[in-house]
């Protein structure tokens, strides 16, 4: 098991948004975290990387308790975070954005980015361009490529399809699968896009009002009634 969340609660100030969530993600699994807008999916992701402090409960990476660690330390232990809105540094060049991935684990070292370019050839072409001038899809690829530089074991992907044109969403889906199949990565993905969930997820965990309410097989979402019940469609 890579990630284990035990009765986790978190939120902003006194407002509790994530409420008593327990979750397990196994090695080389791709789990989709789904649910309507505003049920706490992104807040849960932010709690997992450490941008939001947890008010109670525990988070384990393998058997290490990471609940109190800073985001930088969690990254060093192998969590790669691709936030909602992509979080790229718009004023830095594409290559400088990738170089930021080298900071994981303390001493920055020079990496060769060929492995990243193999998955995202467009980033090689755009290398010297300001990242802010990339299209949404290219920025998304940069954000995923950047965490790959730090050799994570688990990637937290928050809505990678948001603001990305459909054919690129499909490409990103294929790459997520390849990352698991070829590189052995584990992925926890928050997503609303049925096609992308269908293409990548082993199974789905459904959130509602801050808690996990049920688990679904990915194919269950082919049933429009189920999809309508759990997603913002």
């Amino acid at each position: 098991m890579v990630l284990k969340v035990n009765h986790l609660s978190s939120g902003y100030g006194n407002v509790k948004i994530v409420n008593d969530v327990s979750l397990e993600v196994n090695t080389k699994e791709i789990i989709a975290l789904i649910g309507r807008n505003g049920v706490g999916k992104t807040t849960l992701m932010k709690s997992l990387i450490g941008h939001i402090k947890s008010s109670s409960g525990k988070i384990y990476l393998h058997d290490i308790d990471i609940t109190k660690l800073s985001p930088a330390k969690r990254a060093a232990l192998g969590i790669g975070y691709v936030p909602q809105g992509r979080g790229i540094f718009t004023r830095l060049s594409v290559l400088d954005n990738l170089r930021m991935g080298e900071n994981v684990g303390g001493n920055p070292r020079s990496t060769n980015f060929e492995r990243v370019f193999q998955f995202f050839p467009i980033l090689k072409e755009r290398g010297s361009q300001k990242a802010g001038s990339l299209s949404g899809g290219e920025q998304q690829q940069l954000s995923i490529g950047r965490v790959l530089v730090g050799n994570p074991e688990l990637i937290l992907l928050d809505e990678p399809s948001e603001g990305v044109q459909p054919n690129i969403v499909q490409t990103i889906g294929e790459i997520i699968r390849r990352l698991r199949d070829e590189e052995g990565l584990t992925v926890l993905i928050v997503e609303q896009n049925l096609d992308l969930i269908g293409a990548v997820a082993d199974h789905c965990v459904v959130m509602d009002k801050g808690s996990i309410v049920t688990q679904l097989a990915t194919k269950d979402l082919n049933n429009p009634d189920v999809a309508r019940k759990y997603l913002a469609i």
């Binding site: 985001p71 930088a72 969690r74 990254a75 718009t90 004023r91 920055p108 001038s133």
Partner: protein, 299 residues
């Protein structure tokens, strides 16, 4: 010969004014232009640099080394202030204004109590050179050269070093930088310290031309802010250069056409007009033009 001397005089003044603005603003361009901290105590960091320079010089240390000490000293004081005080007020413009204003009073009054109202000045080195009837101080040209060298090194540090990349990333999105393994607290402290070190060096350079007192900083803080704000933060370095060029140009021109006082007023008026037309500063306009040109050439 007389015309040449008159023309040289204006060019000399222009270089002097440009050098003054760039040097006064070189540390603030990091602290306010890049980090967004309204540091009202920036002049006091320069004052600390001036004191370190004067004390070192009178202890027998050569002026250039005394000025480097000033940079190191002001940088260390800056990092301590950042860790103890400033870091609690990022992204809170008004609070940072009030708090750093308090710091500035604390520092200047503290120096007044400890060292008294004035200390022994440091003589201006290098002497003069004559052109026609007039003589010109060589040190003013050195100030200009150092100002250019400081801007170039700030630019090089932030463009080419790993620290620079991490600092720019942290200033844009500290949470994301942290999630990528960057110790953002250290980056903030170092960046603020670097800005203060630049201020300390500038203070040390000015110490050789001015009376050194606890209120030394008051001469520089307002002009430093005017220069940095007029330049804008879209690209802090090109902003600093373009605003120093235009403000010093107007100041020098009016200065010679009317008088020194009106020259100052015209410079501040020019900053006012520039900010009315380009509220985000000159650099924002330059960056916009660049993007437009790139789009046109891509087609």
């Amino acid at each position: 010969m007389e015309t040449f001397a008159a023309v040289f005089d204006v060019i000399y003044q222009l270089f002097d004014n440009i050098g003054f603005l760039i040097l006064a603003a070189s540390g603030l361009v990091i602290i306010f232009g890049m980090m967004g901290v309204i540091n009202m105590a920036h002049g006091e960091l320069m004052m600390i640099g001036a004191y370190i320079t004067a004390f070192s010089y009178h202890a027998g240390i050569p002026a250039p080394i005394a000025i480097i000490f000033a940079g190191i000293g002001a940088g260390l004081v800056g990092m301590i202030l950042e860790r103890l005080v400033i870091r609690h007020f990022y992204k809170q413009l008004l609070s940072s204004l009030v708090v750093t204003w308090g710091l500035s009073l604390l520092l200047s009054q503290g120096f007044l109590i400890i060292f008294g109202p004035s200390i022994l000045n440091v003589p201006t080195p290098f002497g003069n050179f004559p052109i026609g009837e007039q003589t010109f101080g060589i040190y003013r040209l050195v100030l200009f050269a150092v100002a250019i060298a400081m801007v170039a090194s700030v630019w090089a540090i932030f463009t080419y070093t790993k620290f620079g990349t991490r600092a720019r990333a942290t200033m844009e999105d500290p949470d994301m930088a942290n999630a990528l393994g960057v110790n953002t607290g250290n980056i903030y402290a170092l960046t603020f310290g670097l800005g203060c070190a630049m201020g300390g060096i500038a203070g040390g350079m000015f110490a050789l031309t001015a009376t050194i007192s606890p209120f030394f900083g008051i001469n520089y803080t307002p002009l430093a802010f005017i220069t940095v704000v007029t330049g804008g933060s879209a690209n802090a370095i090109s902003g600093l250069i373009s605003s120093a060029l235009s403000l010093a140009g107007i100041q020098t021109g009016i200065n010679n056409l009317v008088n020194v006082y009106i020259g100052y007023v015209a410079m501040i008026g020019a900053a006012f007009v520039i900010l009315l037309i380009l509220p985000k500063g000159i650099s924002e306009y330059i960056e916009r033009r660049k993007i437009r040109v790139r789009k046109v050439t891509n087609k």
